[in-house]
Structures are given as structure tokens and as C-alpha cells.
């Protein structure tokens, strides 16, 4: 295999094109009230249909590029969230959906809640709302796709790497 830096431009372009146009997403609920989860699921249903954008939900972290995470990260879920993230192959991205995933939402300050996914994982896209409408979720995912399109392979590797 060639070094990443030495790959020809056409190969990088093909990879980016494939990455952007067929996102495999996995969803994990870190303790949310389900509102964001049902709006995410709603995005799959015929009215919004994110499959036409190439975004499909997968069952296993090993098959996924993007982690859609909701919820304020309860203490019990934190460890599982990190494990799921670690099981995803590179390059990988995280999208935090909903007010709870951004800051803890109404549960900010509770003894059992870490409050915000970006406290334990690097997040690439934040989608606010309580819950965000499916349109907002699609908008956030499209922003992520735009970011992927523009990024150089080196940037992509950095963006998705774990610290």
C-alpha cells in the first residue's frame, strides 16, 4: 500500500467521493429522553428519507464511518460510548445531536450526567435543538459532508483521530 501522502490525486478524489456519498452511520443513545432518537429515526422514514443522500444506518460500529450520538452522557453510558467509538474504523466522525449532547441540556449539573459528548469524544458536527427537527439533522449531516468534501486526506485523518 502506498503512503497516504504519496497517493495520486485521482485516488484521493475517488476515496473522498465514496466517503461523502455513502455514509454509514451508527446511532447510540447515551441516556437521552428519546426525543432526539425518534427525530433521527424519522429522518429515515419516507417523508425525509436521508437514504437518498446515501446515508444509511448500520447495526455495528465496525461498519460505520459516522457516530450519531444523542443524550447527555450518563456515567453508565460514558464507558460504552468510548468503546463504540474505538471500535469504529478510521477515518471516523462524530455528530452530537440535541441540546443534551451539546451541553447536557436540562440535565446539566446533575450528579449522574457528564454533560456533553465533546467532553469525552472529538465532535465534528453539533446539531442544537430539543429535539432538533429532522430537517435540522439533515442540515447538520450535509454540513459534515461538505466538510469531508473540502478536507485533504491529512486533515481528514486528524479530524477523525483519537487523542
Amino acid at each position: 500500500m502506498m503512503d497516504k501522502g504519496k497517493e495520486p490525486a485521482w485516488l484521493q478524489a475517488v476515496k473522498t467521493w465514496a466517503r461523502v456519498n455513502s455514509i454509514c452511520a451508527i446511532h447510540y443513545n447515551t441516556g437521552s429522553c428519546n426525543g432526539c432518537d425518534i427525530e433521527t429515526l424519522d429522518a429515515l422514514t419516507p417523508r425525509y428519507d436521508i437514504e437518498r443522500l446515501g446515508i444509511k444506518l448500520q447495526g455495528s460500529p465496525r461498519h460505520a464511518d459516522v457516530l450519531l450520538a444523542t443524550g447527555p452522557v450518563t456515567l453508565q453510558s460514558a464507558d460504552r460510548l468510548v468503546r463504540i467509538y474505538e471500535q469504529m474504523p478510521e477515518p471516523k466522525f462524530v455528530v452530537a445531536i440535541g441540546a443534551c449532547a451539546l451541553t447536557g441540556g436540562v440535565f446539566h449539573g446533575s450528579y449522574s450526567v457528564i454533560g456533553g459528548i465533546d467532553k469525552i469524544l472529538p465532535v465534528d458536527a453539533f446539531i442544537p435543538g430539543c429535539p432538533p427537527r429532522p430537517e435540522a439533522i439533515i442540515h447538520g449531516l450535509v454540513q459534515l459532508m461538505e466538510k469531508l468534501k473540502k478536507g485533504e486526506p491529512a486533515d481528514l485523518a486528524e479530524a477523525g483521530g483519537t487523542e
Partner: protein, 170 residues
């Protein structure tokens, strides 16, 4: 195949009649509610009486921290206690059995032999308040995370957060 239901007044009177051998004090906080103060030692016979007569179902076991009043120097004026309220519902009638146990002896007998579904409620009582429910079939944690430290009971008034004091004041 509707159950043979009594009307509200009759239901509450029946509950009083079933519970009277063990009850210290009855009150009616509302027209459809009956409150009964019962000692921990009498809890199981009282619950047995209700269950055998098919008086409703156990809706919840509510725990409440009742720390004693403190004077200006912080000296407690009585014993700190935990109250557990066993609430039974039958149609519109609600009967609550209130049990108080002091911090010095936080033991309540299990009712799981009579009501298996009480296990979840008892587990919550134990992990949130530190009450020991004797002979409960499953003493494992229900809600608190695996990493939660032993001996820390979040719903006690004295609990102010795991690390620093909570700026939101819980």
C-alpha cells in the same frame, strides 16, 4: 369480566378494616386517599392482609429522607430517619403504608415474597437511600452506574454531588 369493585368509600373502609390490627394511625389526606403509619416489624403482615384480600396492586415504594431538625449550632433535635411509603391502588382508592426507620437501624423487611414485582422498587430504595431491605431476592444496583462509589446515597439531603459542590444547587 370486570372485577368485583367496591365504590370509593367502601374500598377505603375495607382497607382500614384489613389494616387496623397493625396500624398506629390512620389519616385521610384526600377524599380518595388513606395514609397509615406502620412500624417496620408490622409491614409484612399489613401487606399480606392487603394482598390476600386482593386489595389493589402495589403502585410504588417511595423513599423520602427525613433528617431531624437542627438547631443554630447544628445539633440534631431528634433522629435522622428515612421514610418508605408503600402505595397500593385499587380503582380510584389509594392506600399508603408509611414506614420510618432511623439511620441507626436502616432495615426494612422485603415484601417480594408476596409481590415479586416489588423487587425493582426495593432495589431503588436501597441504592438511593442506603436502606437495607432484608432478604430481598436481588440486591444489585438498578439505576446507579457500575462505577458509583459504595456508601454514597444520592437522594439523601446530605448528598451534594460527587466532586465539587454543584453550582446549580442540587
Amino acid at each position: 369480566m370486570k372485577e368485583n369493585r367496591l365504590n370509593l368509600t367502601e374500598s377505603l373502609e375495607k382497607a382500614e378494616a384489613l389494616l387496623s390490627p397493625w396500624i398506629g394511625e390512620f389519616t385521610r389526606p384526600d377524599d380518595h386517599r388513606l395514609d397509615a403509619i406502620v412500624a417496620a416489624a408490622d409491614l409484612v403482615p399489613a401487606v399480606t392482609a392487603l394482598v390476600e384480600a386482593h386489595w389493589g396492586y402495589l403502585a410504588a415504594i417511595t423513599g423520602i429522607d427525613r433528617p431531624a431538625e437542627r438547631d443554630e449550632d447544628g445539633v440534631p433535635q431528634g433522629e435522622d430517619e428515612i421514610e418508605a411509603i408503600y402505595t397500593f391502588c385499587w380503582g380510584p382508592a389509594i392506600a399508603s403504608l408509611r414506614v420510618r426507620v432511623p439511620y441507626s437501624n436502616l432495615m426494612i423487611p422485603t415484601v417480594c415474597d408476596l409481590i415479586p414485582s416489588a423487587s425493582f422498587y426495593e432495589r431503588e430504595l436501597m441504592e438511593m437511600y442506603g436502606v437495607v431491605v432484608e432478604n430481598t431476592p436481588n440486591p444489585e444496583r438498578l439505576m446507579l452506574p457500575d462505577i458509583w462509589p459504595e456508601g454514597v446515597y444520592p437522594l439523601r439531603k446530605s448528598f451534594k454531588g460527587l466532586h465539587e459542590p454543584n453550582p446549580r444547587g442540587s
